[in-house]
């Protein structure tokens, strides 16, 4: 068990906050042209998707820790994005939710012995998944979407300065 995945998991809210820093509402809501190769969602939709996904995965990880090989069910991210009024929600609040959730859940992850990260669940789409893989998945998921946010920022002429 590589415990550095917890160090990556915990501060990711700050990473997401930096990724959307300095963007105006209309830039957050800008939808790329189909075929642009930079993803079909607005940055706002990406941020709300990350919040929704994050809360679902943390609940799943809690069940993996507390229950014995629980069943977990996938959800339809496209239906979530089209039904849950992402443009009416607040992107900054979504980042705060994700950030606070990761910081609290990191307290739990740090208390666990290495062996707990091999605990499993049965996911109806992904098959058997361990706690360690779930943490890693949420890390990679956020990085994946941040990459697309950066491509959208480039297209908007709002590249993040280092």
């Amino acid at each position: 068990m590589d415990r550095s995945i917890i160090e990556q998991f915990e501060p990711a809210g700050g990473k997401l906050r930096r990724a959307i820093g300095g963007l105006e509402k209309k830039e957050l809501l800008w939808v790329p042209a189909p075929g642009a190769g930079i993803g079909r969602w607005s940055i706002q939709q990406v941020v709300l998707h990350l919040m929704d996904d994050e809360l679902i995965w943390t609940s799943r990880m809690k069940r993996i820790i507390a229950e014995d090989n629980p069943e977990i069910l996938g959800f339809d991210e496209s239906k979530f994005a089209s039904s849950l009024f992402p443009e009416e929600q607040d992107a900054e609040t979504a980042v705060r939710i994700l950030d606070l959730n990761r910081r609290l859940f990191s307290i739990v992850l740090r208390k666990l012995p290495d062996s707990a990260f091999a605990r499993t669940a049965r996911h109806n789409d992904l098959g058997t998944i361990t706690l360690g893989q779930s943490v890693q998945w949420t890390n990679e998921h956020l990085d994946h979407h941040i990459l697309y946010i950066m491509m959208k920022r480039d297209r908007l002429g709002k590249t993040v300065k280092d």
Binding site: M51, D52, L55, I56, T58, S59, K62, R63, I65, A66, E67, P70, E71, I72, L73, F75, D76, K79, F80, S82, S83, L84, F85, E88, Q89, D90, T93, A94, R96, I97, L100, N101, R103, L104, I107, V108, K111
Partner: protein
């Protein structure tokens, strides 16, 4: 659909925060004697239970809105309380997360037509449950636990001042 239920849902975090005002870390972790009839959990455990439950129910409500009669899996609250290091987490952060999540999700609920509150999910233990029933359940869930928090405060000689 009584839409004032959404206002009560939204205000639940503030109500919970008031219920623990002026309690020390030690007060929060006080476990009542087994025969005291004021609940077996510490106030800290109640707060973390409410956060875990609230985040899971919000995801379930999102699935009810976005998907067609989705399956909602129950979780074992006692195993959560025993396995998720509730004493090591931070009660104020947990209430902060619950509060942000309720305020964000209230924006979604307010955008929905009355008819959407009749949409249903199939809960693995409760059977069919509508979105409107879920919102009501969340309001009642905090009220139920705030009632027990008040009893525990009295037993500690720390009753909340009006």
């Amino acid at each position: 659909m009584d839409r004032s239920m959404i206002d009560q849902y939204e205000a639940g975090g503030a109500k919970l925060l008031r219920s623990i005002a002026q309690l020390s870390a030690e007060d929060l972790r006080w476990v009542p004697p087994a025969d005291a009839q004021i609940g077996k959990w510490s106030i800290q455990q109640i707060i973390l239970h409410l956060m875990d439950s609230d985040l899971m129910w919000a995801s379930r409500m999102k699935a009810i809105i976005a998907e067609d009669n989705p399956t909602l899996l129950g979780f074992d609250e006692n195993r959560f309380a025993a396995a998720l290091f509730y004493d090591d987490q931070i009660a104020e952060s947990a209430i902060g997360l619950l509060d942000l999540n309720r305020r964000q999700f209230s924006r979604v609920l307010r955008k929905l037509a009355d008819s959407a509150f009749s949409r249903t999910g199939r809960h693995s233990e409760r059977g069919n449950i509508s979105l409107g029933e879920c919102v009501k359940l969340m309001v009642e869930h905090i009220d139920h636990h705030v009632g027990f928090i008040a009893k525990k405060r009295q037993a500690m000689g720390k009753a909340a001042k009006e």
